[in-house]
Amino acid sequence: MSADFTISKGLNLPMLGAPGTEIRKVSSKGTISVFPSEFQKVKFKSLVEEGAKVARGTKLARRKDLEGFFVCSPVSGTVKAVNLGERRSLKEIVIESDGSDAAENFHSFTVDGILRAKAENVMSVLLESGLLGLIRQRPFNRIANPADKPKSIFVNGMATAPFRPDAHILAQGKADAVQIALNALTLFTDGPVHLNLDAAAKDSKDCLTEAAHVQVNYFNGPHPSGNTSTHIHNLDPILPGDTVWTLRVSDLVRIGELLLTGLIPNEQRIVLSGEGFKESHRGYVDVPTGIALADVLEGALAEGESRIIRGDTLAGEAVNVADTGIFYYDQGFVALPEDRERYLMGWYAPALDQYSAHKVAPSHWLKNKLFHFGTNLRGGHRAMVMTGIYDAYVTLDIMVDPLIRACIANETEDAIAMGILESDPEDFALCTFVCPSKTDFGKIISETLDLIEQEGF
């Protein structure tokens, strides 16, 4: 079974710096870090101390609020440091790798065998290994709760935002891992498992387009047709009381490798993109999980100051390269030139080299041109004046102006009625992008979602 959707709303940013398709490899320099802090809003307690010997798969930390959820070591070696972050939360555990194959195995399955396995058995592997952290749950987009039964599961295999990795390249050579993970997901829900792909890939044949036991859907259209919220809204909207689980193809590969081998996966494929990287380095990289980010980016950055963004340009987090490494959840980094340039009479100058989605800007009329993008705010913060322009960038059945007003006024009940629970802050990223008053919609939506989650609804 499969469904096709064409999304007409939205906008593709004509951005230079797209990644190439070749896959490079970066190898470990011996030190690996595990970051329990990557699972936001969840607290961990360390189970090891400095100097402890660990094997691949040894439990390093346990989640405080959920019995049986651990974070495990991807390599064997010695614990070099346990670093705490803000408010003494567990930030990272540094391990000096000894290069041995010592491992603590989890239960492993076969691609077809898993279909006959018990859901609890598969879930316990995901919980104990910590890879359940890769599965998210909506509403509120938090780590999936094994106690909840989702009405359906959505796997995102699209890359409309600049620049998410191409799912087909991530899955290249991982056919078994993808299929076993999809099979495992079917155990967790009575509803369908949806694998959502770009319509452009419909005629190609790989492990994603030919995936079995799941419903493969194709979406056509500009960003945000590739956002998970768009898929959920069109396939199985979230009603009050509903829960759905979401994940991405990169997560699928990781979970699949664990289930196939019983070993914590220690290598992952990420994408480097954006004009802040040298052209030769824009592309896919196989990196050891937990390697320092600085090691991955060595020699990759172009000249000039760049902002390194974890995730994509529209919905990502700026990171300090020296301070972080490759998370389990990572699937790519964007390097964007920092642009503090002041432009002469910006309100009047034609500014043909600055992209705009608004017809009032001359550059809007240059079709089929790719632009340089930087981090410049391109104006100053003002009160919101323009109305009615945002609806064209949100694919959900939501009126953006009234919703954002309700959010600013903390009217959570109104916001829920208007459909905020269907959304994720990333769905409003294009509104943030186009707003002439430079309002941060993502921040407003995410604060309101937090408030609703706290208050309960």
Binding site: L314, W347, N376, G388, E426
Partner: protein
């Protein structure tokens, strides 16, 4: 160009510390900020999860409105000069008319900008926020709605009322309920009705008077009279009212400059075409309905005549008075208009309806469009409320249907 930019940047940086916290002129930072960002875009970079931004900011949006007003401004200057010489009977060429006209109009605009600007800066300094670009529009829009014969002190009082009561008491740009320029005009309209109504305007020359077509309407009364002929009798043919060579407020008389402005606003997407189209539809439909009303009827066995104002051909309504000007430049103010796209249609249409109702059923207030827009400004949040409620209902119905379909 690059050197020029560098010089400005250095100059600004050299005095910036004076205006920043702890500086000598710390209080006046909004003034410095306004000048600084007028010359150069701010050096700020993005924060939060979205790391890139569109090239357009509010300055460019507001500036586009000012550009769209320029044809009306130029025409208003010319017409003021034309009316001056027409009324005084002196021969003059186009050039002298333009000079005379700008001599009449420019002081009004300057007064509006100066006094409005003082209030704007005062509130920005007290509230410690940026000076808003919207003021550039208000300060030009307001004088264009005034008769050229207005006294400068009235302009100053009017714009002060508009900026303070129309905007700042609500919290400033983006929070106001009424359009500030129209609030200012309404204030003058009611407080200084003698100088504002269309009945008799001295045309910038002592002793010379002229009436606007809408003003005339008020004096016709209710006798069974052919309004079209009566207007033509006094020189107000459709062609003249279309061309704009008639007494009236500075910016509103001519159709073509307003349509040029409308085209600029619509093509650039700055003004809402929905509101403009809605207002035209509302006005046209209501005027046609009025045309269909009988002009006489029976009451207690006697034949009575109804007001003949209903018989104004509907096309006349478009070119008389400030309907087009108000619709294109005032009703489309996004802050005081309805914010939802469906709401904009309703909001626009009701402006058209109310304009005709005021004009026809109560010609004592000659300018229906001003009252119509202010009235609908107040009603806009309610329109939005019902549009949103309808959307929520519709949304829930769709979601329910979805879950039923799936069983």
């Amino acid at each position: 160009m690059k050197d020029f930019k560098k010089i400005i940047e250095e100059k600004h940086d050299s005095i910036r510390s004076l205006f920043e916290e702890g500086g000598k002129f710390e209080k006046w930072y909004p003034l410095f900020e306004a000048q600084d960002t007028f010359a150069l875009t701010p050096p700020d970079t993005t924060k939060g999860m979205t790391h890139v931004r569109d090239g357009v900011d509010l300055k460019r949006v507001m500036f586009t409105v000012v550009v769209a007003l320029i044809p009306c401004l130029l025409w208003g200057m010319f017409n003021a000069g034309y009316q001056y010489y027409d009324a005084s009977g002196i021969e003059a060429n186009l050039f002298t008319m333009m000079i005379r006209g700008s001599w009449i109009v420019m002081p009004i605009i300057l007064t509006s900008y100066i006094f409005g600007g003082i209030w704007e800066v005062a509130f920005a300094v007290i509230r410690k926020h940026e000076i808003n670009e919207g003021f550039l529009v208000t300060g030009l829009l307001f004088p264009l709605t005034l008769p050229p014969s207005i006294a400068l002190w009235q302009v100053a009082v009017g714009i002060s009322f508009g900026v303070v009561v129309g905007k700042e008491v609500f919290g400033g740009t983006g929070f106001n309920i009424l359009n500030p320029a129209l609030t200012a005009r309404a204030y003058l309209f009611f407080a200084h009705a003698k100088d504002m109504t269309g009945e008799v305007w001295t045309l910038a020359k002592d002793g010379a008077t002229g009436a606007t077509p809408l003003g005339l309407g008020a004096s016709f009364g209710g006798e069974g009279l052919d309004v079209k002929a009566a207007l033509a009798d006094r020189g107000f043919t459709f062609g003249r009212m279309f061309s704009g060579l008639e007494p009236g407020s500075i910016g509103e008389t001519a159709v073509i400059p307003i349509l040029i402005g409308a085209a600029i606003l619509i093509v650039t997407g700055v003004g809402s075409w929905r509101i403009m189209a809605g207002a035209c539809a509302g006005l046209g439909a209501t005027a046609i309905l009025m045309n269909l009303m009988p002009i006489e009827g029976q009451e207690a066995g006697e034949i009575v005549q109804f007001t003949t104002w209903t018989q104004i051909p509907f096309l006349y309504h478009f070119v008389m008075g400030s309907f087009l000007f108000g619709t294109v430049f005032m009703a489309t103010d996004p802050v005081s208009a309805a914010s939802t796209n469906i709401g904009k249609w309703i909001y626009g249409a009701l402006i058209g309806v109310v304009t005709v109702l005021v004009r026809v059923t109560n010609p004592g207030f000659p300018e229906g469009v001003m009252l119509a827009i202010l009235f609908m400004n107040v009603m806009a949040p309610m329109i939005d409320y019902y549009v949103v409620q309808a959307h929520i209902k519709n949304r829930n119905a769709k979601l329910r249907k979805f879950s039923y379909a799936k069983g």
